[in-house]
Every structure is written in C-alpha cells, then in structure tokens.
C-alpha cells in the first residue's frame, strides 16, 4: 500500500538555519508513522537530492528527532540568503517538493 507524506505528517516546513543552510522539518501525525518511516529508512539523501535536483553532498544531514517524532533534513543553500539571485530570503517556501513524496512499500 502506498502512502503520501502529506497524509502522515502534521507539519512540513522549510526555514533558514543561518544564511547558508536550509532546514526542512517533517513532524509526523503520530508516533506510529514516525517509527514506520524511520525503520523503513525511506527518507534518505538520495531521495532529497532527486526531488530538489541537488548533488547528494549538498544534503548535509538527515536527523531523526525522537522526542517529537520528526525528521529534519539540512540542505546547503544553492544561493546564500540575500546573495544576488536568491529568491527566498527566509527560506520559508522551499518545502513544496516534499509534499509530493509518496512511499510505495513500507514493510
């Protein structure tokens, strides 16, 4: 059974973590989904690199945060906040590619 990330997360957001990094947070609706996703290891640098069109080394970390049931993804900003050509100074609207993510098999 396939499942869409947007159906199992209560928060999907992006924001600067300093001017050089973007941080993406996925907070799951409940512990069960969090544990399932964590165990299946389906959120990995390869996936993020593919949906953002970034080299894998720019996906700096993926951190599982047990106290909240959340997964955090840190990206190197393609353009530093406010540098010439930057289109999102606060980095608050870079989460959309995650909304379309779907997992086919979790078990």
């Amino acid at each position: 059974m396939g499942v869409k990330l947007i159906d199992i997360a209560s928060v999907i957001r992006s924001k600067n973590s300093g001017p050089y990094e973007l941080t993406l947070d996925i907070i799951f609706k409940n512990r069960e989904w969090y544990e399932k996703i964590k165990k299946a290891k389906v959120i990995h640098p390869g996936l993020i690199s593919r949906i953002y069109g970034l080299p894998e080394e720019d996906v700096r970390e993926i951190i599982e945060f047990d106290p909240v049931g959340a997964i955090k993804i840190n990206l190197k900003r393609p353009i530093v906040s406010g540098n010439i050509g930057d289109t999102d100074i606060y980095g608050a609207q870079q989460h959309a590619p995650l909304l379309g993510v779907e997992f086919s098999e979790l078990d």
Partner: protein
C-alpha cells in the same frame, strides 16, 4: 522551592504583544523581563546598511511597556541584539528610543550599554593570528571580506550581561547577542542549572512561537526550578503542549540534539517534554557542556546597487516562449552597451508562475499558469548603471518581437508608473565565522550610566 521567573514579551522587539498578556505576566511576579530584538533572517541588508528591520514606533511601543513595568516593579529589563542586527548604528538607534521613553516618563535607572560591533582591526588581528575558523558550510574567511564589510558584529554570550547585572544595571541594552543570553543571564548568575537556563532561554527568545496556536507577537513565561523548567503562554487562548514546545526545538536549527553556543554545547539528547497541566509544559534533562570559547561573527558588505521593474504577462504565446525572449533581451542589452564590460553588471529575470520562488531548486519545469509575474532586476557598480540596464531591458522586453506574436502593442503589463524602482545599495553576508577568545567580555565594551528622572544621557 527555588524558582526564578523570566518574562519574554515578544519574539522580536517591535513585533508587539497584547497588553493583557503582558499584565498577566507581571501579575505572576517576574524576576526579569527580557526580549530578543534580532536575527539574520531578514537578510544582509540591515546589518550592512546599519538600519533596523523593525519599525521605530513599534519598537518604542514595546519598550515603553517594558521599561515602565520594569521600573514599577524594580525588575531588570534586558534587551539583546539591539535594532535587529546589533551593530553600533542599531544600538544607538535603540538607545535613542530608550532615551525618549525615559525622558517622557521621567524614569530613573542604572543603564548598561554593551557594544556588539567588532572593529575590523580587531578581526584582522585575530585573522592573522589564526583565531578565526569557518562555520560549515561556509568556507575559510578571506582577508578582503573583512576589509570590505561595512559592519561586523559578534554574538555575545551571557557573560557581558552577568557583568552588567553584577554592576547593578537595571536596564541592559546590548548589541548582537546569542539569542538566549538575555533570558539565561540572571538565572545562571543566581546559580540555576546552566543547561536548563539556556534551553529555557532558547525557547523564550521566540516568545509565544512555541505555543499553540503560535504567535511571534505574544508573551511567554518561563519558571526555572532546580531540576526542570515550566513554560506558560500568557494569553489564555494559547497553550504550551509537549508537541508545540518539542516542535519548536527543531525550528531554525540544524541539529536539535546538540546546540552550539558561545563557550558551550547544549545537549538535548536526554531532554524530556511533558505536560505539566492543560496549558503548561515541563522540560527536564537538558545539559550544558562547556567547550573552548568561540564567538560567532556576522558581517555584511556592499556589492552594488539595484534597480527593478515589476510587470506581468497574460499572453499565452509570449508565456510559452518566455525563456527564448529573455535570451533575446539579454543579447540586445549586451549589444547596445557593448562598451560596458559585462562584469560591471548583472541582469536577472524572476518569473513568478515558473520558478520565481524556488529558482534552481524548482522541480516543476513546465509553466502551467495562465499568467506570469516578472521582476526584471539589474545590479551594477553604480545606481546609474543599474538604472540604465534595467530600463533598457524593460523597454526591450516590452516591445520584443518574438515568433508568432499576435499582441503587437506590448508584451508586459506594468504594475506601476514609474515602472522602474531604484532599490539602492545591495549587501551580502561576508563574514559568518567563529572567533576564538579567552575572555568572553573582551570584545564587548560596556558603559554604565545613571539615568535620573529621564536625564543623564550626555
């Protein structure tokens, strides 16, 4: 039971708070009232240009409430990262607001002003001595970035605040500060657990953002005890839940388990978030580990001048081949000004409805929108040249004859007359590095002043 109460008024000084929430906070008898005024989030302009990103009247309003309440109740008021970026002009801007309030209200207090701007010579000396290191993903600092910066600030830790409190300061106005420092200084000075104090400060610096529903413009109270702290949203329509506070721990930071600060790492691996009652959260287990003392430096430099033009397009034939049209416009600009070397300016086209928000991270390549928002942007060494390039690109795009054109009167719908907007100097971050120090206060000189009935500023 030992307890200290810290009142945080708002997420950023000038973002406001309901007077009822503030009153509710005062009724609970705070030991200190503190606010964070700053962030690098709004981008490099404010630090580089030396201006506040928050409105003056809004800052006056918030400070007015805080200073009066602080004097009424004999409770210290701490303001960190004055004016947003915390460099000297931002500090002076906020000092002037405090002076006006003190004069109008006839307030008396001992004022500590702690400077956050770091002289370039000091940074260059540290650079030469190898005391500056990069903060990944930034690379090594280059000498010309220091020299070219208009302002460099350092994020001070709690130590300068403690020094000011020990000197008897009743109002502390500080330049760029580590966000939790204003909230954690008095508790740590009084011997409370530094890990819990710093974690509580980390949450309080964003005030009610950690509540549900969250708000950047509402008050929050922290109650620090011996082995835990409690958080309470002071607006009855908000509450703190383990989920809301836990989620905030992720916010705007890279690693939620290990948070680096000046002289320490805050370790949240054993932290527990529990419901204390329906509206309050209990947090325990946060620990602080001391490490060699580093201060984060932030610098911004001017890179040119900007002119923009905002327009829209609704013609499907135009929208379909907009990329080729842009190429054609670029070519015409280069040909027309062939005497101007191309490195003297940059010409950018932002296409809303295509990839205006995400730029090169946008995965969707085809345009599906029936209209496009277009921002033509020129950045050049001088404002005149930026005006020239933007104006010529705008006129060329308006009348550009692309293949299959049916609407031969003009390609763009301009939003305004004048169609071009002069945006002034453009800045970018130049320094985002760590400097190693022996004395946490050495970079941050302090002045103490006795204000009597609003007087004593000269």
């Amino acid at each position: 039971m030992k307890e200290i109460k810290v009142l945080s008024t708002t997420a950023t000084l000038g973002y406001g708070f309901p007077p009822e929430s503030f009153r509710a906070g005062l009724e609970r008898g705070p030991d200190v009232i503190a606010v964070d005024a700053g962030s690098t989030d709004p981008g490099p302009h404010y630090l580089g240009a030396g201006v506040s990103y928050v409105d003056r009247k809004a800052t006056y309003r918030d400070l007015s409430f805080m200073l009066k309440a602080g004097r009424d109740r004999k409770v210290p008021v701490l303001v960190g990262s004055a004016g947003g970026s915390g460099a000297e002009p931002h500090l002076q801007w906020t000092r002037e607001i405090i002076r006006e309030i003190a004069q109008r209200e006839g307030l008396s207090f001992k004022l500590a002003i702690i400077h956050g701007e770091i002289d370039k010579e000091v940074v260059l000396k540290a650079f030469d001595e190898g005391l500056i290191s990069p903060l990944p993903p930034t690379g090594p600092l280059r000498r010309e970035e220091i020299v070219g910066s208009t302002h460099i600030v350092g994020q001070m830790g709690i130590e300068p605040f403690v020094k000011a409190l020990e000197a008897g300061a009743e109002v502390i106005l500080a330049g760029r500060s580590y966000d939790p420092a204003m909230f954690a200084a008095l508790p740590i000075m009084q011997g409370f657990d530094p890990g819990l104090a710093m974690h509580m400060g980390k949450i309080l610096e964003c005030a009610a953002i950690a509540a549900v529903p969250g708000s950047g413009g509402d008050c929050m109270m922290g109650y620090l005890r011996e082995d835990h702290f409690l958080l309470e949203a002071l607006n009855p329509n908000r509450r703190c839940t383990p989920a809301s506070v836990g989620a905030h721990t992720l916010y705007e930071k890279s690693n939620p388990y290990l948070l680096p600060g000046p002289g320490f790492v805050l370790d949240l691996r054993e932290t527990r978030f529990e419901a204390y009652n329906e509206r309050m959260v209990k947090v325990s287990g946060s620990r602080l580990r001391t490490v060699p003392y580093h201060i984060k430096l932030e610098g911004s430099k001017r890179v040119g001048f900007r002119t923009i033009s905002i327009a829209g397009a609704r013609d499907p034939v135009f929208i379909r081949q907009v990329d080729q049209t842009i190429q054609g416009v670029r070519k015409r600009v280069e040909e027309n000004f062939s005497d101007i070397p191309s490195e003297k300016y940059r010409l950018l086209f932002h296409l809303y409805g295509k990839n205006g928000v995400m730029g090169r991270l946008e995965p969707q390549k085809e345009i599906t929108s029936h209209e496009l928002g277009i921002v033509i942007e020129a950045i050049a060494e001088s404002q005149e040249l930026a005006n020239t390039i933007c104006g010529f690109a705008r006129a060329t795009m308006l009348h550009y004859g692309y293949p299959g054109r049916i609407s031969t009167a003009g390609n763009l719908a301009f939003l305004y007359s004048p169609s071009d907007v002069t945006m002034g100097a453009v800045y970018q971050f130049s320094v985002y590095h760590l400097i190693k120090v022996e004395d946490p206060c050495a970079l941050f000189p302090m002045e103490i002043r006795e204000i009597e009935g609003g007087k004593g500023w000269e």
